[in-house]
Amino acid sequence: MSAQIYSVFTTEAIHAEPLDYGAVSLSTMPHCIKVIIRGEHDNAAFIAAVQEATGLSAPTRANSVSSNDTSELIWLGPSELLYRLHNETLLAGDTVQRLQNALQGVHSAVVDVSDYYTTLKLAGPDARRVLRKGTPLNVDVALADGSDCAQTRFGHAAILLTQADGQAEDGFILQVRWTYAEYLWTFLAEAMQEYRT
């Protein structure tokens, strides 16, 4: 392999320009507010409070997302939701406060994890093929519907997979612990090489 190819496998590359190979591209997503909300999903008071505070209907199916233009409520487990909010002026602390106020008196926990994770976007017609190279997940089944999400593995990294704008054709959003971001980026960059046009 040429030195030119290796140059994308660096920490600097993650923060630099997106990799755009035509049929597949990789980029980092703008920072967003991320809040873990714990509470039993079969507790009606919990669901009502979350819906009131987020303005979103809680996802009722396992591994599904409910979203609007600026926010997502993601199923992570039978007692765990992830709230992602794309807003450049709001503070994560204020969002946590808003949720805690709504959940007052309801058995729950709200934790700000905004800086704990990084999100990457893998897009293009060959994105699905690249994704298959690192995950044992049956992507076609697990992400059959636009509102589907999945927590799985890419190489050794634990990832949360969602679909950009609720459509896999528009790309996959991979959320990863930031300490694994370089690993994930370099793995994806290497996996993308064969689809380079």
Binding site: A62, N63, L76, G77, P78, E80, P136, L137, N138, A150, Q151, T152, R153, A158
Partner: protein, 111 residues
């Protein structure tokens, strides 16, 4: 590739899971009155069965929840998985289902 059925996420690759030993081992209630042998039996001794084995698993790379499974230690086949708190499926019934399935008369659920 071995697929394991998470009670919440459905079928996922075995590499997303890890095993945590035998299930349904109740902690003794009167721990202060136990002698060393009884305490040792609770802490260290397991059934080590050949055949059906009830065990605890976690879906580490998925929903990260604990669940229980019945696995055949000879064939490595998972007969059924179920949520914590749900009663342990009857071993005789599972064995019957398994023999029906291998003779082609019925399908084992969760496999």
């Amino acid at each position: 590739m071995l697929l394991i059925e998470c009670p919440w996420c459905g079928q996922r690759d075995q590499t997303e899971f890890s095993a945590h030993g035998e299930a349904h081992i109740a902690r003794p209630t009167e721990t202060a009155t136990l002698n060393d042998e009884q305490w040792g039996n609770y802490v260290f001794f397991r059934s080590n069965s050949k055949g059906l084995h009830y065990e605890r698993w976690t879906h580490d790379f998925g929903c990260r929840r604990w669940f229980n499974a019945v696995r055949d230690t000879v064939s490595d086949q998972f007969l059924v998985t179920y949520k914590p708190g749900e009663p342990a499926p009857d071993a005789k019934q599972l064995t019957q289902q398994l023999s029906d399935a291998t003779s082609g008369t019925a399908k084992v659920s969760g496999v």
